[in-house]
Symmetry: C2
Amino acid sequence: MTQYRAPLDDFSFLLHDWLGLDGHYQRIGATGMDADLAQEILAQGAKFAEQEIAPLNQSGDEQGCRLVDGQVATPDGFAQAYQTYIANGWNAMLGNPDFEGQDLPYSMAVPVHEMLNSANLSWRLTTMLTESAVLAVNRHATDELKQTYLSKITTGEWTGTMNLTEPHAGSDLSLLTSKATPQEDGSYRVSGNKIFITGGDHDWTENIIHMVLARLPGAPEGVKGISLFLVPKIMVNADGSLGAPNRVSVGSIEKKMGIKGSPTCVMNYDDAVGYLVGEENAGLACMFTMMNDARFQVGLQGLGVAEAAYQGALEYAVERLQSRAPQGVQAADKKADPIICQPDVKRMLLTQRALTEGSRALSILYAQYMDIEKYTDGAEQAEAATVLAYLTPVCKAFFTDMATEVSNYGIQVYGGHGYIREWGMEQLVRDTRIAQLYEGTNGIQAADLIGRKLTRSNASMMQATYDVFNRVVAKISNTDKQRQAQALLNEWQTLSNDLLGATPEHCAAIACDYLQYVSYTLIGVLWLSMLDKLPTLDNQSFAAGKIKTGEFYLAYILPRAQQHKHIIMHAAETVYNTDISDFITD
Amino acid sequence: MTQYRAPLDDFSFLLHDWLGLDGHYQRIGATGMDADLAQEILAQGAKFAEQEIAPLNQSGDEQGCRLVDGQVATPDGFAQAYQTYIANGWNAMLGNPDFEGQDLPYSMAVPVHEMLNSANLSWRLTTMLTESAVLAVNRHATDELKQTYLSKITTGEWTGTMNLTEPHAGSDLSLLTSKATPQEDGSYRVSGNKIFITGGDHDWTENIIHMVLARLPGAPEGVKGISLFLVPKIMVNADGSLGAPNRVSVGSIEKKMGIKGSPTCVMNYDDAVGYLVGEENAGLACMFTMMNDARFQVGLQGLGVAEAAYQGALEYAVERLQSRAPQGVQAADKKADPIICQPDVKRMLLTQRALTEGSRALSILYAQYMDIEKYTDGAEQAEAATVLAYLTPVCKAFFTDMATEVSNYGIQVYGGHGYIREWGMEQLVRDTRIAQLYEGTNGIQAADLIGRKLTRSNASMMQATYDVFNRVVAKISNTDKQRQAQALLNEWQTLSNDLLGATPEHCAAIACDYLQYVSYTLIGVLWLSMLDKLPTLDNQSFAAGKIKTGEFYLAYILPRAQQHKHIIMHAAETVYNTDISDFITD
């Protein structure tokens, strides 16, 4: 199995040479932040990811999680690694400084989060969901709740969960039936069954803080009648000490395709004590304030797994000797050439790398605008929020779709050995597959992009994003590359505006193709921008390979955008002009 | 979990209305064969697949295979189902009538084999490999060996295996090191370690007949020094009774991503008694006579799994209620609409169906030419052999690539539930993934197509295939459809001929794209041909949905061919102009 190594060279290029981190921090007034600090954080994050959790990835998959006397036991080493993680402050990176958070910029945290995902996605999940709970409590809870809970989940002394899904309410939360009844003391009693709850129980911490969506008595039907509650696993006394167990139990651990080291729980709330977070019936709005963050984080999961799959494939392609290359003998001293000399293997590796590194560039641009949203205000902050809103479904769906492609190439480079568990490649395919499904399926992301983000904003969100990318293009010094990038942007703008008059049904039929088209196009623009920077880089050994990867993206990957454009323009009717009777003919 | 139902309506359309089975059998002189017999065989095959092995698919995956005291134990019910299978004669369908075979046409067997793959791929594998062993023994073994072994493996009283791969010799068999030493009695002693041996051991039959590639002393290096040996698990006495165990043992059962119900064994041969099959040093040639068949059979595995994934997704899409359709409320009496009303879900289902049914049409055309090769001689037989040679890598690689796409859509339609094992969809993704790897990875298939089949034949195999498809196009009565189909054929012919001057390196770089281009194009021609037939079909309820599926293929799927064409014409250099140093920069 390949030992994961954090791609620090690429992060260094992206943050320092491409984004210009010091200038970025100065522009947004992020005092005390600079490129040196970022580099140190990344180096330490790399060390943790490589040495503490990557070694647990395969054993975690083999062991899985077990339910012992109603309590979840996680794989060997997971709990210990978590203690190291929180002791070193990783859980608090982005947190509120009034509650023991470190308040770091996203541009420092996002690369670390990618590394965690590469090293051990199962392990990472519980900490990611805790971050979502931290956001929810920080933004929406009362001061009293914050005093009791926020520091604990910010540092990671306790973890958090998000409880949305019920068996009959997944994509459509309007159907959820969990109930909350107000009590005289101002608390509530929460009852209901939730499924797919990541980290619903575990053996890492003494307490777990569940964020639960439920309905109050007499609440309106649909999504406007949903409220958010904080439900601790163990009651917390007034002095902060732990009290009696709450009426929360684990029904079972789901048997899944992958992320087997992560306990995905069926949770039962049986008159459990809970506390309202945010306004009554505003639960979905509370969730939506976290949605950008959580969906982008899931995108990063795909990106992280894709990097791991590329590294695994590359190592094997260099070591595995098999046949002679069609261009002639490459390793005359050996019985056969390394398979990396085979053009078809180069094609697979280049596809993995071009998709992964292109997506990483977009993730860094996204982090840049998260920083801008965090550190600025007024029009600048508003623009950043708008751009993030448009790009969130793109990052979530595209990164996770491409991760399934890239990790499958990981298997394919290994040939039959890729199918054998010990090599670790098939685990990556199984693990990353979930990321196309949760936090809104990629179909839901596509509907969000073409619906709420494009047509319902009358293209204003697209236009704000266009302006941001236009600034990237304006900085391209090579005129050919600039012209090519500008043409990509303008085609995207025109195509997007042409969709404004289409019916909802028409848009829904081509939503996924629109999302793919946008992704390939915008990442194409970013590759052109990177290609413009690379020739003057000090590290020319690094630059040379990345230049070829970018050229490959433009020649080999970017044409996919044209295929999706063709479908967007011509194929919608053949999709939506079908009825159930066309599928069922008995 | 969805109960598999054999697509008998589609088989009936393809065999009777589209291919015209009675006329086909008359033309090739297949006496005693007719459409009624085929229909009866398909109905019985469907019954076996649906009732005997489909119910064992999920439990087989959960239980897997175990090694107990050196013997493989297969999942509950597998051995019993196999006894039913051979008792009903299914194993002998294609066999030599002199050795208890039924000598049926491929056009009757191929649909049955697809059904077996849909119902339970793990279970099917051992019988498929036995058919390969039957072919090898029938074509290449001495009469003496045939008398002892051929009836037994034809009926399935004993199973067979194919032993090619060694740890360091997979795609490149020239590196294999297993040895065979001649003995005075004319037998050989075979020693070596083989991996990835399907059905290497099991608890189904008293004996197993291993076909093993090994080197004789002083044999030439490379693939010209490989011979084929028959090595029984248990020695067979002169009177046909079983004797002592041979020196064959199972080292371990591979832990795999999927097909867990199939015992994939590491086999150790330690001076085991073996018998030469075919000429000395002609082992690879012996294997190649079976290659078309085995590779096509693997293609059928993809096709079978794709059908199962489509059925599972369709059932869920009709039953699952979630949200309202963008075109307006569809099921006012329910809290939400079935998700099949969502255009994006229609898109996924149509993609699954268009790829699956298009591939099935190609599989039936392939079976038609297998029949022609079997029943005719002279120029007609030679043309059929040539066409099959060109189409084999297409069917193997395209059907299995599309099966990974289609089965992943199976998961996607289910949302988060698709990731949970009980629903059965994720198993299909794991099971079918192997088919892109074994019997030559799909990269090897693509190299075979553009190398041996296109450029090294100076396009003659492509031209023979063109002629066959031209006859299909000539029968299209609608002039628009005929013109469109003819344009597709001519573009393929021109593009193929343009590649004749390219270097091997250039061809290798675009081999997979050429294979995809050919596949989408030829299946496009077949859809046009089917669309021409469908409007006059008696069963218009069936025809209506299939017409929409074909129109979807042309509008939504076929544009992929243009993307691959673009890459073929423009992207080769960016693939092969990379070196190891571009990937490794330390």
